[in-house]
Symmetry: C2
Amino acid sequence: MDEFSLIQQYFQRPSSDAVKANHQLVMGIGDDCAILDVPRGQQLVFSIDTMVEGVHFTQDTAPADIAWRLLGAAVSDLAAMGATPNNFTLALTIPELSEPWLQSFSDNLSAAAQAYQITLAGGDTSRGPLTLSVQVQGFVDSGQALLRSGANTGDVICVTGTLGDSRAGLSLLDHLTPDADQQYLLDRFYRPVPRVASGLLIKKYATACIDISDGLLADLGHVLSRSKKGGKIDSAAIPLSPQLKHIAGDKALHWALSGGEDFELCFTLSAENWRLLQRELQQAEPGIALCEIGVVTEESGLQIFQDNKWQAVTAQGFQHFSNE
Amino acid sequence: MDEFSLIQQYFQRPSSDAVKANHQLVMGIGDDCAILDVPRGQQLVFSIDTMVEGVHFTQDTAPADIAWRLLGAAVSDLAAMGATPNNFTLALTIPELSEPWLQSFSDNLSAAAQAYQITLAGGDTSRGPLTLSVQVQGFVDSGQALLRSGANTGDVICVTGTLGDSRAGLSLLDHLTPDADQQYLLDRFYRPVPRVASGLLIKKYATACIDISDGLLADLGHVLSRSKKGGKIDSAAIPLSPQLKHIAGDKALHWALSGGEDFELCFTLSAENWRLLQRELQQAEPGIALCEIGVVTEESGLQIFQDNKWQAVTAQGFQHFSNE
């Protein structure tokens, strides 16, 4: 395993400006542990995520895409808490020492880290089937983290961005010469952008939040279940991109509801706060798109309005949407 | 992957007393992130470690042994910083949903966590070749962490416990009916005990510290290299267990120097502090064994006194000890 310690050199690149600016990270790579100062009045929030070759990505996925997707998906968990990213660790298991692979992966991981303002603080490298685990760590004002459990009856249910794009991208992985719309959807799959700015914005207003990794229906279900509430959503209100509608046709809604890995945020807030949030949004944050899709109900269970009637969403697979 | 979320149930066991007593862990398993309060005046120290089937353990290793070894090795990194363990996350990649495997693994992980006073704070489960990553997190008084880089010329070099036992245990994995000595060495391999109490004790006195995972010579080399110093050690002073001497014969010293995975601590401190530490040890900590093995030198390079002469230890594999 000695040679594997050489791999560390790929990740110990000269400190970028982003790294230098991380005054909280007292010790990064190079000792038995990293050391972090958590600012007074803030809490540490953290989450670990794994991607496995053949499960989360195919064998021919470019290391650049693996790096961006790995970090984007992981940072999304911080966004869902309304947290500010600070640092991450990487447990990298690779079958062989491929310099081109390592160079491209580490270059892109570094670029993604800079884009998301997060610093590599440590890691471990092993030989084995390609498996990547990332733990992301961030800060939130004490007691202010957005949980899944705070939704109240009558709250508006909202989402960021558009849904279903990532699932559409997944269906296009074999396309060697994608057109512009297809490339857009492929990028949405390979390079999900964590909604950190949205999370920080909505934190003041939202009662509950989750990032959409398993699909809107499943993840909204988690929020409602943890909050001991139910919900009603309107299928006509689900935000769909023009690219998705063009490429997916009549599968668009199904993919938006159940596709997963969009890494948009789904959150709840009072109607009053929804008005305030929309006003703040119009004035200050042109890059953030928010959309109202439904309402939290006192009775448990999730219903969706489609084909001119309310339909119950079942826990197992939402079979009545299985027109795939 | 839906079924895999069921796995979470194995790790969401009713809170033990140890978990309940963890007032710093505000939110554990169940949301997008865990939330941690870091006590005022303390820093967070953290490290991620991976074990892969076929690399770090054989395919027929019992899940109980995997659990204890995984957590013991990981917590050892906290011990090496002089830190107090607080919580950990687990990224578990498993090829199939085996209930007996999961039950035994999670039972033993829970027992190990209780033994090392550390709380499972979150995790992620994936399907794939058996791979386990653990990130451990602990606290240390701000500015008081034991680094690898502080050794001074003239410092005494010390180790905890005995060395080489784990490597001897590795050589015995095929023994179906081990005798008492063999079982002792197998236990040292499968269930390394992180030297948390030793780390906390020596923190007041030591100038540098590392846990011995790659072997004494390699890990002491890391300390000396980071401290920009050299060192001299006496082969006759290396602590060997009676069990190792009995089983390993003339390989005992080689295994103690280069075997690795003992997860004992190697540390440096001034001669004056070494006297003070020994005095404190005699009075208060009968369970902790410390042993002086050498001295830090101004000139770089590591030398060992053996066969009545000083021999240079080379960086690549210490070939002159390769009588294995």
